[in-house]
């Protein structure tokens, strides 16, 4: 899978693509990642759905969306027409539902990759989130992999709030994941001390933004160290080219931008520009030369060996 550049939108943060297109050309994105598409339409969670925290954002949108049929009818074609690289994120409550979604997408042209949002509650395991447990995650990935065309990569999206992210990553790769995306939002909460009630209607929510970047860098670092051959899409608090480079040096070969889009709708092209400048200033001609570079032993010269293709997922 080749991308025009390594800066993607993060799932659930770029709307349908049309909204961002008011600001800049979506075909110029490394890829547009859709919100997590579900089988049936979903109204999501009640409001308030957002709360600001220090350098962070809590959200509990609850995968609001029109369902896969309406998505294929009204949202995907528009993106395809524009020549956008499209990563379709999918979410479900059982492995079977993920597989059914993958089957529904299998014959649809124009899909660059399937990203499996594993931060959904497993309705067969008392609502425990798939990403929390390697075997549940692997089962989902295997069923999606089996239902997806061989030439469409399946990306497993992991969450940082587990005891051992490497174990979950390894399980997903063993289950057939072609690449990994991390991090999804860890679960957080905020309480309004004036109303003395949770700030979000849903109580807890996902924490995103620069506050979680150290967790994202750590996850990418650990997984890249353990599974150096597996492409990683890094995300979590990327707001500048420096942040993107941080994740790349940790081992990501592409980055996704989420919360930063809310403050700066031009974030993706800006971050790409900044990243390219930083790479150039460091004499890193190819992005691949920078991937995982911070892992080289202290004091050693710049890595020359490259085991990853430019922007390949």
């Amino acid at each position: 899978m080749e991308l025009p550049n390594p800066v993607l939108t993060a799932s659930g943060c770029g709307g349908t693509g049309r909204e961002l297109a008011q600001f800049s050309d979506v075909a110029r994105l490394g890829a547009f990642t859709t919100r997590s598409i579900t089988m049936a339409p979903r109204a999501g969670r009640p409001t308030p759905r957002m709360a600001e925290t220090p350098s962070g954002l809590l959200n509990a949108v609850g995968l609001q969306g029109p369902g896969v049929d309406a998505f294929l009818q009204h949202e995907l074609p528009w993106l395809v027409e524009r020549g956008t690289r499209i990563v379709v994120s999918i979410g479900g409550g059982t492995a079977a539902e993920y597989a059914a979604l993958a089957r529904r997408l299998a014959d649809v042209p124009g899909i660059t990759a399937i990203e499996v949002n594993l931060s959904c509650p497993n309705i067969e395991d008392r609502g425990r989130v798939f990403a929390r447990e390697g075997s549940a995650a692997a089962e989902v990935i295997a069923s999606v992999r089996a239902a997806t065309r061989y030439d469409v990569p399946v990306i497993a999206k992991l969450s940082p709030d587990v005891a051992d992210v490497v174990a979950v990553a390894r399980a997903c790769v063993d289950g057939g994941a072609d690449a990994l995306a991390m991090i999804n939002t860890p679960v957080g909460m905020s309480i309004d001390v004036d109303t003395m009630r949770p700030a979000l209607a849903a109580g807890t929510g996902g924490l995103s933004g620069p506050a979680v970047r150290p967790l994202a860098v750590r996850c990418v670092w650990q997984v890249h160290a353990a599974l150096p051959g597996v492409p990683i899409v890094g995300m979590g608090g990327v707001t500048t080219g420096r942040d993107a480079l941080e994740l790349i040096l940790a081992g990501a070969c592409a980055v996704a931008v989420g919360t930063a889009l809310f403050n700066d709708p031009y974030a993706c092209p800006r971050i790409l520009r900044e990243l390219e400048e930083l790479l150039q200033r460091r004499g890193l001609d190819r992005l691949a030369d920078a991937v995982g570079l911070a892992h080289r032993p202290a004091g050693s010269q710049q890595r020359t060996r490259t085991d990853l293709e430019e922007s390949s997922l």
Partner: protein
């Protein structure tokens, strides 16, 4: 929408206090050009290295052609973001995105409109009144707030409106009570054809009920917590009934903020109505 929104690093031209509120005039040509009544803008707050990530939304109070185009925002200090804005001084820069949202639709033919504003909600009504009067409409104002210092724009309303009725809950200005207490009388006296309202959700609900009672159209501009303002985050939704009779959770920022009042399910704001499209266990799920 009158053209698509842009991001502008504006320069603060003037700052002033207006009773309980702060008003900022910002040079922001690209935005000013495109603004229509009911549009809003979002401001990045806190400066470099701030811990505040999300933009704050503000109705555009006034647009002027000076310096290539200025917008004026009127706001009360609620939390740290508005506190930061209140500390801005002339010549500081302010990063704005706009114009955003669906502006107020205007009547095709001249008619009589009552414009109802609660607290700073009235800020967006004067540009609307201008546009209505330019189309030959008669405009009457009803402005209310808990207390006199929080009624915004009374003088200007008096200058512009055929009539202006003020209410305060503590009786410190105008009639003691709420805008909905006086609205039926104003509608009746003016033989109003339509109502526009902007203010707290409770007020919009009450105003809508009155308009429905009189069987005249009502446009309300709602306020919901927004993380992006541009339609990508899905945090600002509220239940609104579509043309097809189906309730959907729609975005205040891009499907609104102006809605037909009777389409907004005010009683269900902050919930997912069981019959909304995609509601848990609902018929469409």
């Amino acid at each position: 929408m009158a053209g698509s929104p842009v991001q502008v690093t504006g320069t603060v031209l003037t700052t002033r206090r207006v009773d309980a509120y702060h008003a900022l005039t910002v040079v922001a040509p690209g935005i000013a050009d495109r603004c229509r009544p009911g549009h809003f803008v979002t401001a990045s707050v806190g400066g470099p290295n701030t811990s505040m990530l999300t933009r704050r939304a503000f109705a555009v109070h006034d647009v002027k052609p000076d310096y290539g185009g200025t917008v004026e925002l009127v706001f009360g200090v609620r939390g740290p973001g508005t506190a930061w804005l209140a500390d801005l001084r002339a010549r500081d820069t302010l990063d704005l995105v706009g114009p955003l949202g669906r502006p107020f639709p205007l009547p095709r033919d001249p008619c009589t409109c009552v414009l109802v504003g609660g607290e700073y909600g009235s800020a967006s009504l004067f540009a609307l009144a201008d546009a209505l009067q330019a189309r030959g409409c008669r405009v009457d104002f009803v402005l209310g707030a808990p207390s006199a210092d929080r009624v915004f724009g009374a003088l200007r309303a008096r200058r512009m409106g055929e009539t202006t009725t003020l209410t305060t809950e503590d009786g410190s200005l105008g009639m003691r009570g709420k805008v909905t207490d006086v609205l039926p009388g104003v509608i009746a006296d003016a033989r109003a054809d339509a109502v526009y309202a902007c203010g707290p959700m409770d007020m919009l609900r009450g105003v809508t009920a009155v308009a429905v009672e009189f069987d005249i159209p009502v446009q309300v501009a709602v306020e919901e917590r927004m993380a992006c303002g541009i339609g990508v985050c899905m945090t600002c939704v509220l239940p609104v009934i579509g043309d097809d009779g189906v309730t959907r959770m729609v975005r205040a920022c891009t499907d609104g903020p102006a809605f037909r009042g009777e389409r907004v399910r005010f009683e269900d704001v902050g919930t997912i109505p069981f019959d909304a499209l995609g509601a848990p266990g609902g018929r469409h799920a």
